[in-house]
Structure formats: C-alpha cells, structure tokens
C-alpha cells in the first residue's frame, strides 16, 4: 500500500451518542505506517481472538502499521498520541471510563471493536439499577463494586467507526482496516441480515413463526447465527431506517411483547430504540 496523506472527515456512525460526549479536536491525517494501539475494557476478548484468528492476514495488516500498544499480544506499550486506537469491550468501571476519555484525546481515529464496545453488548443485559442487587447476591454485603453500568463507547466519546458483532466478523474487520489505511472511513452495510440470509439459503425464521431480528439488523455477518440454527438477536446493530414497527407487527402475530422484548434485550438493551419501545415512561415528579 502506497503512502497516503488524507484528511478524513469527522463522522459518527452507528448508535447516536448521548449528551456530554467528548469530541476530538485532533486532525484526522493518517500517515504511512500509522501508530496503532489496541485496548480492551470489560468483555470476553473474543473479538481480539478473532483478530488473532486472521493469522496470515493479521501479519499482512501488521506489516502496514506500527502496533505500539497491545496488552494481549506484546510487552511494548507506548504512550500516545496514536493515529488509530481500537477499543474492544464496554467501559464499566470509572477507570475504564476515564481511560476512554483520555484515549479519545490521544488519537486521530477511534474504532469500536465488537458489540460490547459498539452497543454495550451482553454485559448491557444487566441494567444499572439491577446491578446493586446482583452485587449483594453474588459477592455479598461487604463487597465494594467497581462496575457502574455497561454502556457503548458512544455514551462517553465520539467514535469514528463501529465494527459491530458478537464476535466481529473477520472479513468486516479486514474491510474496515484496509479502508482506514487507504485513508477513508468505512460505511456500515446499508442492507439487513435478511439479504445475506437469503444468499446463505436459509429458510426464513419469520415464515416458521420464530422471532428474528434479522430484518432490522445491519448486514455484514453473513447470517452466521441463523445458518447455524440459532436466532438472530441483532448483534450487528440496527441498520439505517430499520422500520422496527413493521417488524413488530409481524412478530406480534405469533408472539407476545415479553418474548419480543427478550430478543431485543440481548444486544440492543442500551439503544434509544429499546428505551422507546420497552421502557415504561416515568411519571413526572409532583
């Protein structure tokens, strides 16, 4: 890959961020052999394992960049500033939230890797309010918890690209990284999982009266879960113009709202759409 000196326009993709988001003031110019750092917050590290599973392709990518900090793989741990920071996991503890805000200031490009980073992921199933009950039950009364709430990175900072997936799809990681190195920020797939599910030749779950979030979910996964016989819980995040209400009309023909909510709560619990659909409006204070 030749040298590239490209200005990348700032663009936030995916889940809309909350207020109070730290915005970057750094230029987005990416030089050849950019300094790349990989960090992980609270998660299972499966997306980093997916990176390692790229094998030869990973070596090829690593040849194009300078990996200056990656705790899982090396002792070298340079301090910033960096060109690209990749973050896996959800910032659950105060230390992680502080690190995230610090890293935002230290990097030109910030990429979220995997559903924990992009959506809050599986840890997001537990609500902030429910945590104190489970802390007591699991760790006992005296325990001082560290975790606050499992939220996506975009709850705290501006993120330049979200690579969704639980775990990420290897081909998508390569696509996004190659495009980044070529000086452009990728766009999410603007079609739903259904498209790839048809290509995979799977019978439609909806026609079999089984709940499926494929129609409202971004493509890119290759419909791997449905192909294996499992449901689609939407780990790739909502697609553009998802038309959720249309899907709900279909789902309610053969399932109740409790079942539907359960599907949405697997990966999408910390999205504004989940709140709109399933959270009961709070009564205003007297």
């Amino acid at each position: 890959m030749g040298p590239f000196f490209t200005m990348i326009k700032s663009k936030v993709t995916g889940t809309k961020s909350c207020s109070g988001v730290v915005e970057t003031t750094m230029s987005r110019e990416i030089k050849p052999k950019p300094k790349v750092a990989v960090f992980d917050f609270t998660d299972c590290e499966g997306c980093e394992v997916a990176l390692v599973s790229l094998r030869e392709k990973l070596l090829e990518l690593v040849g194009e960049i300078d990996v200056v900090n990656w705790r899982l793989a090396q002792k070298r741990a340079d301090e910033g500033p960096y060109d690209i920071v990749i973050i896996e996991g959800t910032p659950v503890t105060q230390e992680e939230i502080d690190s995230l805000k610090f890293l935002r200031d230290q990097t030109k490009i910030l990429v979220g890797l995997g559903s924990c980073a992009t959506l809050g992921g599986i840890p997001g199933i537990i609500d902030k309010e429910a945590r104190s009950f489970w802390y007591k039950k699991i760790y006992g009364e005296k325990y001082k918890p560290r975790g606050i709430d499992a939220l996506p990175l975009t709850a705290y900072v501006q993120v330049d690209y979200l690579i969704h997936g639980c775990p990420v799809e290897k081909k998508e990681v390569v696509r996004v990284m190659e495009e980044l190195l070529a000086g452009k920020i990728s766009k999410p797939r603007n079609y739903s999982v259904c498209f790839e599910c048809k290509l995979a030749g799977n019978p439609c779950r909806l026609l079999a009266r089984k709940i499926c979030l494929g129609p409202i979910t971004q493509g890119g996964c290759g419909a791997i879960c449905v192909s294996g016989g499992s449901p689609c819980y939407g780990c790739f995040g909502l697609r553009d113009e998802p038309q959720i209400d249309n899907l709900l009309q279909t789902l309610y023909k053969f399932s109740d709202s409790e079942q539907v909510e359960r599907y949405f709560s697997m990966f999408l619990k910390k999205t504004p759409e989940y709140a709109r659909l399933f959270r009961k409006p709070k009564k205003p204070h007297d």
Partner: protein, 418 residues
C-alpha cells in the same frame, strides 16, 4: 506500593503488587464485573448456552458445552452417541486453539527473549508456521462443527441444531491429519526450553474417570492429595473467597490454593495416555511441583487432543451421524423445578455450572465456577514461593519471573470475573 501495571500477554486485566519490606506479593484483579449469574436469571434455559460462552472469547466452546450439559442434566435429556462424539471433537479443537494461542503468542516470548509472539516468525519460522497450521485447523474444526468457533451457533441442549455431512467430515479429517506433525513440533519446541526452578506444594485437581484421558465426561473430582468427590458436589469441594482487592473470587479447597489445567490433568490421568502422547509424557519428566511446567504440559496435551480429534473423526466417518443427533426437544420445560450440573475440563482446567430451571423453562438460579477462579489462589501462593526462594535477586528479575509464573498458569481473568 507501585503504580499498578497490568500483566501483558494474559487474557484480562490482572496486576502483581508487592510489599518489598514485608516480602509479600498479591494478585489484583481489576476487570469490571459482568454478573453473568444474575444476567441469565428469568431468561429461558436455551439462552443459558447462548449467553455464557460470552464469559470468555478464548474458551467459549467449553462454556457453551458445560452450560448445555447443565441444562441437559436438569431436564434429563440424553444426547445421542454421535452428538456426544461431535461435542468431544469440538472440545478437542477448543483445547488446541486455546493452548496454541497461549503457548506461542503469550508464553513463548518469555522463553525466547522476545517482546511479542508475532516476532517468532523471524526467529523461529518453522515453529511459527506450525503454530499457524495448528491454529488454522483447530479453528476450522471449531467453525465447522460449532457453526462458529467463537460463540457457537449450532450446538443445543439435547444434541445439535445442525451437524456436518460425512463429506465435510472427510475433508476435515484430511486437514486434521496435518495437525499431528505440527503438534509434534510443538512438543519438541517446549521440551527444549529452560524452565525456571521453583519448589512449591501444589494441590492439583482435575475431573477424571479413571479409564481414559477424559475432558468431557469426568466422573470424579480428583486431586494429588487423594480427593475423590463427585462433580455434583463441586460447591462443597471449592470454597470461594472474596478479596477486597479483586473483582474475581479466589477458589480454595480445605484452606489451600488449587491448581487446575494441563499440569494437573497430566498428573492425575497422564498414565492413561496412549501411543505417542504417552511417550512424550514419559520423556518430558514433568515436575508436578513446578508451575512453570504447565507450559510443557500444554504442549503434550496439544498432541493428545490433535490425536484424539483424528480418532473421533475416523469413528464418525465410519459409523455416520444418526438423525437422533439433531432431534431436539420441543421445549425446555421440566415437570417440576429442576437443578442440573454441568462439569467438564476447559483448556485452563475444571469448569462447573449449576442451573435451576422452573416449570416454565425459566432459569431461577445459576452458579458458575471457572478454572481461573480456582487457579488464582494457587497462583498467589506460588508467587509467594518464588519471592521467598529468590531473595537476593534484583527486583526487576523477580518481577519478570513472577510475570512469567502468572503467564505459565495461563490465567483467564475475563473468565474469573464473570
């Protein structure tokens, strides 16, 4: 006390802390709590094995299968013989994936004087190619049988949603045969390394059946201190202690640290190995009181699991996979509230699940004890032993040795804080 620095090249966030004046060392775990045992309560039984693999991206198959076994135990479901063989094949692939990742990318740099596993490509290209080959083929088996290696999609309580065709299994067998040579290379590499000497009093634990080198279906929890308990009683066997400096619990047995994993398994059932694996085991002269030898033990196991996966593939190809493997129950609702236990050997050691399911098929209780919860206690005791035995050495040297020690245990901090 110095600024905490996370130990590099381990799964998750742990750090060693010292009080040099008092000659004390302890292990802090700072990973955020995810509360999996709470997360699954109120959800249907079939979501247990969808959610809990996400405890760990390095050994998701082990969690998936242990969760499935717990649900099957509660509902009294019996998977078919070929379904069990496919699961054993999946678990073999999981062991190889995890051991290879740890041995070459995380542990080997310590012994070869390198910063990162990726540098081995320059210094030891043949061994590196063998590592990539083992990773490629074990990933292929996991993806093919599990639907996806990281967080399986085709497994289920009662059997499988989908199984590979015999044609696919034949292709898989052609590839699996190639693992044997690379796995031999792995044993040679790790036999040739110099391991630090340390003398500890390790209590080693593994699930065994006394007949075969078992990982999927152990009948007992055994130890080198003559314990023989039932996996059903795992909660009585392992005492979990909560420490103010750790988000992970520490597991003890009779007040003493527990070591689980490859070294423990070879100690307790190494005699049951056959063929070349048995020869490698004999020639390695493992020191079962030296935790650094866990790396050597993992290399020997890599060969054993590569060999076993070939045997299973041959059996499946010869006998075929019957329709019963994909015959799943219509629902997962027991007649009365039921408790189930799922236990197996994960790459890092014994993994235990307890689940309770009500008549609507909802989970009402869940308890999980991971291998690293057990290992943390032994790790801290061994670290103290190294510190005591290395008096007079420089702080830097001791810290390096201790980081190597922690790495040798192959801790999965993410697993330990679930």
């Amino acid at each position: 006390m110095q600024k905490p620095e996370f130990i590099t090249k381990i799964e998750g966030h742990g750090s060693l802390h010292f009080n040099w004046e008092k000659n004390k060392v302890w292990l802090e775990v700072a990973e955020g709590e995810r509360l999996f045992e709470g997360m699954v309560v109120g959800r249907p039984a079939e979501e247990l094995y969808w959610i809990t693999p996400r405890i760990c991206g390095v050994c998701p198959i082990a969690h998936n299968l242990a969760a499935i076994r717990a649900v099957e135990d509660a509902l009294n479901l019996k998977p078919s013989k070929s379904a069990v063989l496919l699961r054993k094949l999946l678990l073999d692939a999981q062991m190889i994936q995890s051991h290879v990742l740890h041995l070459y990318f995380l542990a080997a740099p310590d012994y070869l004087g390198l910063d990162s596993g990726l540098e081995i490509i320059k210094t030891h290209p043949v061994y590196f190619q063998q590592a990539l080959e083992l990773k490629r083929i074990s990933d292929l088996i996991a993806d093919t049988v599990g639907g996806r290696g990281i967080h399986p999609t085709s497994t289920a309580a009662g059997g499988f949603h989908k199984v590979p065709s015999i044609e696919t299994l034949k292709k898989l067998k052609n590839e699996a045969e190639k693992m044997l040579e690379s796995a031999e290379g792995c044993v040679h590499l790790f036999t040739s390394l110099n391991y630090p000497e340390v003398n500890t009093d390790l209590s080693l634990f593994a699930q065994t059946n006394g007949k075969t080198y078992e990982t999927y279906d152990g009948k007992y929890i055994s130890s080198n201190k003559r314990l023989k308990a039932s996996p059903d009683d795992f909660e009585k066997t392992i005492d979990e202690e909560i420490k103010p400096y750790s988000t992970a619990k520490f597991g003890y047995h009779a007040g003493k640290g527990m070591m689980v994993g490859a070294l423990a398994r070879l100690n307790l059932q190494g005699k049951l190995l056959k063929g070349k694996a048995k020869e490698f085991f004999k020639e390695a002269h493992l020191d079962f009181q030296n935790p650094y030898h866990n790396n050597l033990a993992q290399a020997i196991e890599t060969y054993q699991f590569a060999h076993e996966s070939n045997e299973i593939l041959s059996e499946l190809i010869e006998n075929g996979i019957g329709e019963k493997a994909t015959k799943l129950p219509k629902n997962y609702m027991p007649r009365k509230v039921s408790r189930g236990i799922g236990a197996l050997e994960a790459p890092r050691g014994s993994l235990y699940y307890e689940v309770e399911i009500d008549t609507k098929g909802s989970i009402t209780h869940c308890n999980i004890i991971t291998p690293t919860v057990q290992n943390l206690s032994s790790m801290e005791e061994s670290a103290q032993a190294v510190l005591d035995q290395m008096k007079g050495q420089s702080k830097e040297k001791i810290q390096d040795l201790l980081e190597m020690l922690v790495r040798a245990y192959d801790p999965c901090i993410t697993c330990s804080v679930h």
